[in-house]
């Protein structure tokens, strides 16, 4: 490596003509190229992929696993070329179905995915001693392979030196050095990609057995006279704090609280704006179209449905931006390290903690964030308990009932009974999640734990394009898969609540007419029908309708109760009063007795009442089996806990 701007290119064996044939007009078109991009998880592979394909990649799923499939077109002179970005892996010997994807794709063993004809392997210049172990495995496949040594600028900055030509000679394959996030060297790689048929292959494949392969790597590096890089000063300094037993734990706590708070606070204005926009569009439709079925369907069914999908976007975008930023910088690995012991006790691992914490804002992005957990079983358990984390949609429900029924008394200094109740509900959800995870891990999704080995990469400032690309991928995946299901459920719910259309008795106010229609709708009849089943919990048919509606989304119960009690939704005080005073016409007793309220709150702590969560679960687990299981076990838990709560509180208050 002589000059700064020229990472250099090394070539062993014959340097075949690359451009000449392709440009001759008389020559037949060359077959399309299919490259596989391989490399370790922190080797700059994704940045290189973006540099080659320019964010024009298509994202899909491999059959049967949750790993993403990313392919993109690359501009190679004179030929069609596609790059298949294979999941980052340390080794071709798989430990799970997800890891097996790489070796299966390479063998052409995965249905519908053509094996790549030539391979591009990335390795971080600062950790070649380990990276070349993987390269050695890849070379045994016998396909044309070239090595891209990434982050060569960092190697120089840390006082290391690497002769790429010698490395190419020693390995027997072409080697290119790049600085991915600045695009340096990529043009040389593209030139190389024009003619993979001309790439040299090693005379003897590297050894298969790990110990022998390590010896081979050592001899290669010796021959190349690699000057190893010194410490990364920034990483050393920062880790002194971050990994310190006390300071590190405190810092971790602060980062997590901040994370959670930002998602709550920063997403709120955008979500309010979206809410207002939805209301405005709904209103415009109702004014523009003649009153009737079509107007209602469009305004309350379609627009509200689309709105309930779009409303998640601010939280998802914000969460994933923070998540990917922390991950790409390298902090996430440290966070997982700090909290791993606790997580290990319940059968999960450090990275699952971040996903669960994100679920405190909303389970939808939290469940998507479980992708950072490599073990499929641990990821599944994390997904199954994420709904127990008290999400922000529960807040309007808690707020209504706590304000209506919990006395506003001071308990200790500034802490009031109402605030403590809210805190108690939050903690109940969180602790149950941990216990449920431990039980599920033992009873339902048991199995060998993947060895927990986590690399701590040096801290790096990620290129903005990388983070944007990752966030865009997550957001568009959500819209595509979960969005359609959420919209469908909203329309079905609208239907159940609106039909059959019963005209109100003469002289009724608009609010009373709404209540009448609701009572005689399909949903209302179902509410009456399930009343016997929920009576042991102290619930009546009105609560039944509310619960039914809230199966789509928790906060819907507030609007539904408002309709039932014939109050305007934006007049919460009178809804509060209405439910305080409501009495059962037959027995004369209060509908919302203390026991009922307690049971209802407990029900909301546990039950999975969110079509969006089910939709995302389906997307992340590739089947309906697990969302159905989650719904079932949480419903059983909710019913049981509610029942017990009702009985206990009832015994104490009568």
């Amino acid at each position: 490596m002589s000059e700064e701007a020229d990472p250099g290119i090394g070539w062993a064996g014959d340097a075949s003509e690359s451009g000449g044939f392709a440009s001759a007009a008389a020559a037949p078109p060359l077959p399309p190229l299919r490259f596989g991009l391989l490399g370790g998880p922190n080797s700059g592979k994704t940045t290189l992929f973006n540099a080659l394909t320019g964010l024009r990649a298509k994202v899909a799923n491999y059959p049967g696993v949750t790993v993403e499939r990313r392919e993109g077109r690359v501009r190679v002179a004179g030929r069609q070329a596609v790059v298949l970005d294979l999941p980052g892996t340390y080794s071709l010997t798989p430990l799970s179905a997800d890891e097996a994807v790489v070796s299966r794709v390479l063998a052409g063993d995965l249905a519908g995915v053509a094996a790549p004809g030539a391979l591009v392997v990335t390795a971080d210049a600062c950790s070649l001693e380990r990276g070349l172990l993987f390269v050695g495995q890849v070379l045994r496949l016998g396909k044309p392979t070239c090595l891209v040594v990434t982050m060569v600028d960092e190697l120089r900055a840390r006082g290391g030196a690497l002769d790429l030509a010698r490395l190419s000679d020693a390995l027997g394959i072409p080697v290119v050095g790049v600085v991915g996030h600045r695009g340096l060297g990529v043009d040389r790689l593209l030139a190389l990609l024009e003619h993979p048929e001309g790439w040299s292959l090693p005379a003897i494949p590297p050894p298969a057995e790990p110990a022998e392969r390590a010896a081979w790597v050592d001899s290669v590096l010796e021959r190349v006279q690699l000057r190893r890089p010194g410490h990364h000063r920034v990483t050393e300094a920062v880790d002194r704090v971050v990994l310190h037993p006390l300071a590190g734990t405190l810092l971790f706590g602060a980062v997590m609280v901040l994370f959670f708070q930002l998602i709550f606070a920063w997403a709120a204005p955008a979500m309010d704006a979206i809410d207002a926009a939805i209301a405005a569009i709904s209103g415009w439709i109702e004014r523009s179209l003649p009153p009737g079925l079509l107007a209602d369907f469009l305004a309350d069914g379609v627009v509200a449905g689309v709105g309930s999908v779009v409303i998640f976007l601010p939280q998802i975008v914000l969460l994933f931006t923070l998540l990917y930023l922390l991950e790409d910088v390298g902090y996430m690995a440290r966070a997982a390290f700090v909290v791993d012991r606790l997580m290990g006790r319940i059968g999960l691992e450090g990275r699952a903690f971040v996903a669960l914490l994100s679920s405190y804002a909303c389970a939808v992005p939290g469940i998507m964030a479980t992708r950072t957990v490599p073990s499929p079983r641990q990821r599944l358990v994390t997904i199954l308990v994420a709904p127990l984390m008290t999400c922000s949609a529960r807040l309007p429900v808690y707020a209504l009932f706590i304000a209506a029924f919990v006395p506003a008394v001071q308990v200790w200094g500034p802490l009031g009974l109402q605030g403590l109740t809210l805190l108690g509900l939050y903690l109940l959800g969180g602790l149950t999640a941990l216990v449920a995870a431990a039980l599920l891990r033992r009873l339902v999704v048991a199995g060998e734990t993947l060895p927990f080995v986590l690399e701590l990469p040096p801290y790096r400032l990620p290129p903005p394009k990388l983070v944007l690309g990752q966030v865009w991928g997550a957001a568009s995946a959500f819209l595509r898969r979960a969005g359609t299901i959420i919209l469908a459920v909203s329309i079905v719910l609208w239907f159940l609540l609106s039909f059959p259309r019963t005209p109100a008795p003469a002289g009724a106010s608009e609010a009373e007419a709404a209540r009448h229609a609701l009572e005689h709708s399909i949903a209302g009849r179902i509410g009456h029908a399930v009343e016997p089943a929920i009576a042991p919990l102290g619930f009546d048919w009105k609560i039944g309708v509310g619960l039914l509606a809230s199966l789509a989304a928790r906060e819907v119960i507030v609007a539904t109760l408002a309709q039932i009690y014939a109050t305007a939704e934006d007049d919460p005080i009178s809804l509060r009063e209405a439910i305080r005073r409501d009495r059962d016409p037959r027995s004369g007793e209060l509908v919302f007795q203390p026991a009922t309220v307690a049971a209802l709150l407990v029900f909301f702590v546990f039950a999975l009442q969110c079509a969006s969560t089910l939709a995302v679960m389906r997307r992340e687990t590739n089947s309906w089996r697990w969302p159905a299981f989650a719904f079932g076990y949480l419903l059983a838990l909710a019913y049981g806990a509610s029942f017990v709560t009702y009985r206990i509180v009832h015994a104490f208050t009568t």
Binding site: C126, R228, V338, L454
Partner: protein, 105 residues
């Protein structure tokens, strides 16, 4: 000459470093350098540690432990890894004397 140490929950007091005995990687004192002697295949399912470079003849250093002692950060082959005690037990090492002050990159 292998010495079996009792499997205890807490790390024992770091014994005076001897170049003759082997001990599990999980029981190195913080900052110690060691040479890997062998990896117990039964305790390393799938051979993941070996694939990552935890191989006989490789130098490894224990950099620090997490709060509560588990997992720990090791430096080897120019990379830093967190490994849990359960997996680190599979690796038998021989402590290397006199370089406790230096940190591997």
């Amino acid at each position: 000459m292998a010495t079996t140490l009792p499997a205890s929950a807490e790390p024992p007091e770091p014994a005076p470093v001897s170049t003759e005995e082997t001990r599990p990687l999980s029981e190195l004192p913080v900052g110690a350098h060691a040479l890997i002697v062998r990896v117990d295949a039964a305790a390393d399912p799938g051979g993941r540690l070996e694939e990552l470079g935890f191989l006989p003849g490789t130098r490894v250093q224990l950099l620090r432990r997490a709060p509560l002692g588990d997992p720990a950060v090791y430096a080897l082959r120019g990379t830093r890894f967190c490994v849990r005690r359960a997996e680190a037990r599979a690796v038998q090492v021989r402590a290397l004397p006199g370089e406790a002050g230096e940190t591997a990159p």
